[in-house]
């Protein structure tokens, strides 16, 4: 194993050891807290003490191995797996990756390689090409070693490239450092900002995301020009997105948007899309849809290092299909001039939306299935695809049934491309969740729309509300009376009486009364 990996694992072992130590301290505390009630208990206590002492001395070999095992298991659990059950053959990697630039190419290719079995080899090869354009030696090493059995040609580490890159980074680093020092000595604001920015780019290329963020934020603070600030923020956001640090993304996004609020900058578009991206991660799909649709505005949208204009079309269209109702769909998509241009870039998505709107369900379902592989292989959308697909399907079913009073379930099953049994299960689930107002005639396989008798419903509601009101009011009156009479459930007063016995409140009262009797 390489040195860096070893350090990582040792760190993990240290953390595990700390945890074990904490546990031993707890066990000792428990052991001492227990009251010894018998000989057996005494023996147990001393045993535990002994164990505690042993553990304190240091972890045994067995325990170290156990910890290593745990670390490995955890790593294995977080491993990305292939997506099964979907045919990815229609997906063209080169077409997909064409629009992107910079690091995002690398990340997206890796994502595809890990999810699609068919494309793994090709994607990995393209990934290696990309990674060699950066200075990220660690990533290169990690991936080549991990997938060495899949990569047949490029199996070995390209040591030449590694050495060259090391030398290169060392010399670039020296140059950049001296530049920055000079700028600081001369108190050259422009120079300082530029120096910090360049160092940030340098670390970003190396894959050291933390340092990159550090320098980007210094660059941002050393200037007052809003355009420059937004630029620094965007670089920071790019870094944070690669590192999946959502808190950083949102803080830099806020800073950038504050500065560029009033100005009509070209970067406003990309900032809005990043907002949309954050909404997706927090599962606010409707807000995200709005943000993507309104992102470009009148300006041309250009920031291929994170999202392309195709992405806007896909994300905006897909999210709005899942979350908008009919009128919203019409207003925001079909009548929206600016967004239409972006939708045209992805004709499949456009067709799906139009088919849905015009109730052409067979084509709609077909188109939806066709576009699924592409969405599943998109880095940011993949984990939400299934959920959104279920939502879209539900909406389609509800819309399909809405004009009918009675509907033949066989026809419905055919139109939605499923069997009669499956559609019956889907329908009964929807009805049980109150999303569909209907009843199933299982004998004749017909779905009936319900005519709710509003009059009886009103009567029922009124009568139950009346009963509820009367009960609650009486309960409150009772409570008011209790409080007025100063009656609460409280600890009974204990008083010592002649004879030394403790008597409670009730008995006191009784005694008084009895005395009154005599």
């Amino acid at each position: 194993m390489s040195n860096e990996n070893k350090i990582e694992i040792e760190k993990e072992i240290e953390i595990e050891m700390e945890k074990e130590n904490e546990k031993t301290i707890e066990i000792e505390k428990e052991g001492s807290g227990e009251e010894s009630k018998g000989e057996e208990e005494n023996e147990k206590k001393t045993e535990k003490e002994k164990e505690g002492e042993e553990k304190k001395k240091g972890p045994t070999k067995e325990q170290l191995e156990q910890i290593k095992k745990k670390v490995q298991e955890r790593e294995a659990a977080n491993e990305p797996k292939f997506i099964k059950g979907v045919d990815f053959s229609s997906f063209d990697i080169e077409d997909y990756i064409e629009g992107y630039q910079g690091h995002t190419r690398m990340d997206r290719l890796l994502f595809i390689a890990q999810r699609s079995e068919i494309h793994q080899q090709k994607a990995l090869k393209m990934f290696i090409e990309e990674v060699k354009k950066t200075r990220n030696i660690q990533k290169y090493r990690k991936i080549v070693e991990k997938y060495s059995d899949v990569l047949q040609d490029e199996k070995g580490l390209d040591q030449k490239w590694i050495d060259k890159t090391l030398k290169d980074s060392a010399s670039t680093y020296d140059v950049l450092e001296t530049n920055l020092k000079k700028a600081k000595e001369n108190v050259n604001q422009e120079g300082i900002r530029d120096g910090n920015l360049q160092l940030g780019h340098f670390y970003f290329g190396k894959g050291d995301l933390k340092s990159a963020l550090k320098y980007y934020s210094r660059a941002k603070e050393s200037t007052n020009d809003p355009v420059e600030i937004v630029n620094c923020c965007l670089s920071a956001i790019k870094t944070a997105m690669e590192g999946k640090s959502y808190s950083h993304i949102s803080s830099y996004l806020n800073a950038a948007q504050k500065k560029s609020e009033d100005l009509e900058l070209e970067t406003n578009g990309i900032l809005r899309t990043i907002n949309g991206f954050l909404s997706i991660t927090s599962r606010e799909f409707k807000t995200a849809a709005h943000q993507f649709i309104n992102a470009p505005g009148k300006k041309v949208f250009e920031y291929p290092e994170i999202f392309t204009s195709l992405d806007i079309g896909i994300y905006g269209g897909f999210l709005s299909l899942a979350t908008f109702n009919r009128s919203e769909l019409k207003r925001n998509i079909l009548d929206n001039e600016y967004f239409k241009n972006y939708l045209e870039l992805v004709p499949e998505m456009r067709d799906i939306i139009y088919n849905f709107y015009e109730s052409k369900y067979a084509d709609f379902v077909e188109g939806l299935e066709k576009i699924k592989p592409q969405l599943l292989l998109d880095q940011y959308l993949s984990s939400h695809v299934e959920r959104l697909y279920t939502r879209i399907r539900e909406k389609a079913i509800i819309q399909y049934f809405s004009p009918y009073l009675t509907l033949d379930m066989k026809k419905m099953a055919k139109d939605f491309g499923t069997t009669l049994e499956l559609i019956e299960i889907e329908l009964s689930n929807l009805i049980a969740e109150d999303k569909l107002a209907g009843k199933i005639d299982q004998k004749n396989k017909i779905l009936y729309g319900t005519r709710i008798n509003k009059r009886s419903q009103t009567f029922q509601e009124v009568l139950s509300f009346g009963k509820d009101y009367r009960r609650k009011t009486r309960a409150l009156l009772l409570r008011a009376n209790l409080i007025q009479n100063k009656m609460t459930v409280k600890r009974p007063r204990k008083k010592v009486m002649m004879g030394g016995e403790n008597m409670n409140f009730m008995n006191m009262q009784l005694l008084n009364l009895m005395r009154g009797f005599n």
Partner: protein, 393 residues
Amino acid sequence: MEQVLNIIFQNSNNKESLQHLFEFLKKKEKIINEQKNNLDLYLEQLHNGHHTLGCLFLLAAKAQAKNYFLCKRLAEICIENSVPQAAILPLYQSIQKLQKTSELTPAHPYLMLVSLCSKNFSVATKVLEEEVFEIESKRTGLNIKEVLLYFYYGGLIWAILKQYDRATHFFELNISFPANILSRIVLESYKKFIFTSILSTGKVPVLPSQTSHVVEKNLRQFCGPYLKFKQFFENSNSLELNELVVKFNDVFGKDNNLGLAKLCIQNLLKRGIQRLTKTYITLSLEFVAEKFGLGSVINAEFYILDMIEKGEVFAKIDQKKGEISFHDDPETYQSSKVGIRMDKEIQEVIDLSNQIKHLDERIMVYPNYIMKKMKEDYHSQKKSEEMNEKKMN
């Protein structure tokens, strides 16, 4: 009190002043009542023959306080001697005679207790039907334990009579009373509350907001198996529920709640079938048997027949084809019965709102309240003056 005695002495001699004395004594009734403990002293001072009116008032005051103690002793004695039913009628009559309208007296819980012991609920139901919410602890000597007991026993009686809705209400009252500590009665009420609310509505409602924090916190601590039962019921898994009851058999048994628990499990099936009426118009018996694990078609038919007879579901069974067809609730709310019912309920609501108005008027004249209000007004006035000064400066 001394004054009263003097006036009794003075005026007991001639007939005219007796009238005055009567009116005077009536006014002073409150003072006389408060002297409960020392009434004997004063009685000795008055001679029965000469001062009859005075004696009468004093004796009446003495009687009121003692009456309820009598009730309790009566109940205890009857239970000890295994004739609880003997106490029912006397207690009922004492309630009727001594009770002001809608008032809760100490005799109430003992009547309930005695009815439970003798398993004779006809009288108790009459008393339970009347909604009680007035309390005058000074006059009646009622204490909080008796209040809790009344609602606990009352809830038990309603549950035995299968009126789970009312039982739930009584137990809920117990749980939400003002409290500083958790009482055993409240704890048991909560346990039964879970079961009866499941039996009446299929779910356990959130505790009312007036429930004291002490009660809420401690309830969770002591009712572990019950809360698990509630969770499993909500997940509608009858197998798990059965296992849970078997596992905690002794816990439920100790609290005498096994019967309720088993009823709840049966209820799960009923709820499931009722949910089906929402989604289906016709259904095959096979489907029902399969979905609820009833074993055979015959079992399913039996269950649904039972439910139809009890009016828990509205359906028809076609035995030849093995199908059930559900139809809507045939109640159309158009009969005169409904009209009469609405009238009665509207009247009750009007009465209630009158009561609230009275309570409001009483509070408004209450000296403590007036003082508080005056203080508040004074403070807020001062504050607004300070604000104005600041603005001007």
